[in-house]
Amino acid sequence: MSLNFNTPLFEIIRDKNKCIQCKVCVRQCANEVHWYSSYENIVNSDNNKCVNCHRCVILCPTKAITIRKHRLEFRNNSNWTSNAIKEIQKQADTGGVLLSSMGNPNKLPIYWDKILLNASQVTNPSIDPLREPMETKVMIGRKPDKLKFNKQGDLITDMPPQIELNVPIMFSAMSYGSISKNAHEALARAATKLGICYNTGEGGLNKDFYKYGKNTIVQVASGRFGVYKDYLNAGVGIEIKIGQGAKPGIGGHLPGKKVGADVSVTRMIPIGSDAISPAPHHDIYSIEDLRQLIFALKETTNYSKPIFVKIAAVHNAAAIASGIVRAGADVVVVDGFRGGTGAAPTRVRDNVGIPIEFALASIDQRLREEGIRNSASLVISGSIRNSSDIVKAIALGADAVYIGSAALIAMGCHMCRSCSTGKCNWGIATQQYDLVKRLNPDIMYKRLVNLISAWNHEIQEMLGGMGINAVDSLRGNKLMLRGIDLNETELRILGIKYVGE
């Protein structure tokens, strides 16, 4: 069938006066957009193949290339948008479920942007982090209700295992397979350098990375890929993944073409086989099943590691979180509906789940009401974009945040949302050797360190502005927040006042 409704989304514009025919773009585009014609001595481009990842734009030494949204338009229609039409055409063409990558791109409210922070003026001096200590270290894990001392004043309480984070930020779960080994190396090295943690995701842990164990959280997901005793003991924490913000209620699928020799060994599956994570864990059909898995993992690791349980932010997240804490989890992770993914059904990604801000506020409040807020740490994720998002999250009650997309962007991701093709030109979401190579861990780990250090500076500045010198005093400190452009219900759930109040 030759009839094809596909039209280019982007238009490549090449300045002929600037193009020196060096062919760097030709060599660098894995989608084979650019090609050199020796007959004409010019470089040509095929708009149809372009995903707008900017690789050629960035590498072009003369900056001769720009990419624009293609000018082709449908007749204006607020209901039948070009996107709606194109999706129908695509499904009519393939008969398949629409797949998308990264987080929900739709125009839904971003509540971080509707929350404003406080600062000290006169009655309370702001603190200059350049001159005074400014602490951002947090301890992640279950805390006992109280500490006990004997008559001599010696501590007699045995502390449950804790994870020390120098900065209340971790790199969220992204599996080896969905992202490249080099990307993992950069994350692991950055986490080590920063004194924070990265998360293996559900793809197992490559042998080369066991050495970063002190800064690793290993994940156990429904596919149980690469899970065995050494793996569980390799990191400082274990995360049971129940759900993910980008696709609550949905499993995962790593196509066989991404399962090369190394991924195969790490995941413990045959080379070339599809790695399918079922939607539920087949041994968790209820909260008591979860409790069994939590304690099975604790037994396996001799109660030396906090157990994280990660869920997607869904309607009754607060009650679920309370159940998870009571089931024995040491850390509850909640992933908001904007969280990223390598691939998710578009309809699920864009329509399932709730904003993380609300999930966080209601979970924190619920746990406090039940008097069990100290029994688990609360970590949130799902499109944390900058340091002020983090400050707001902590003030709403989070102990720490996970960042995924932001870390990828630091490593070169341009949010072209083509992860599922496996041809990531930035060497992130790919297993193709020549592409993986483009992500130089030496460079990228430094960029990650830079990013987190920069954010840490900003967090410190904001803390200092509030007259606080330890992030502990920000946690749940909702007085530091005010809402704007929010209705009464929103304010009530967030537990914050309106600006000016």
């Binding site: 006066n17 020196i20 025919q21 660098q28 003369t62 130089n440």
Partner: protein, 154 residues
């Protein structure tokens, strides 16, 4: 002494180094003019291997530089820093240097009778190939720094 070192496991074969080398060696120092209008050879060569990987290669500025020994006119010489340099005014184009360079890094120009070789951008001290490599596959390092890494290369 600092030299340029190439890291094959990092090289993408994009050949931006060649583009910038030509720019550095041009009269105009304008990247577009240098690559489009001036006939300039790149002193750095990106080679493709039989494993489809790449690496960049340029004059190694050998301690015991064979090209200097071979040169009959003093056109190739070692400066006080240790950079093996080339003075085209003195060159008689006999190509003795080309004949002895173990790396093939001293080449005859594609465009004229002179010889092309890397001079580590000595006039600025900042080789353009290094500063423009997008993947840090080319580094300007002190010889001592590379000694430590030599162990890794097995």
């Amino acid at each position: 002494m600092k030299k340029i070192y190439s890291f094959e496991d990092k090289c993408l074969g994009c050949k931006l180094c060649e583009v910038y080398c030509k720019t550095a060696r041009s009269k105009s120092k304008n990247i577009i003019k240098a690559n489009k209008e001036e006939n300039i050879d790149s002193a750095i060569i990106v080679e493709k291997t039989n494993k489809d990987t790449h690496f960049a290669l340029q004059c190694r500025h050998c301690t015991d530089a064979k090209c200097i020994k071979a040169c009959i006119s003093g056109a190739i010489f070692k400066d006080e820093i240790g950079i093996v340099r080339y003075d085209k005014e003195k060159c008689v184009s006999c190509l003795s240097c080309v004949l002895v360079c173990p790396f093939g890094a001293v080449r005859k120009s594609d465009f004229n009778s002179t010889v092309t070789k890397c001079d580590l951008c000595f006039s600025t001290g900042k080789p353009l190939c290094v500063s423009n490599c997008p993947n840090d596959a080319i580094k300007f390092l002190d010889e001592k720094e590379i000694d430590d890494r030599m162990e890794i290369v097995k």
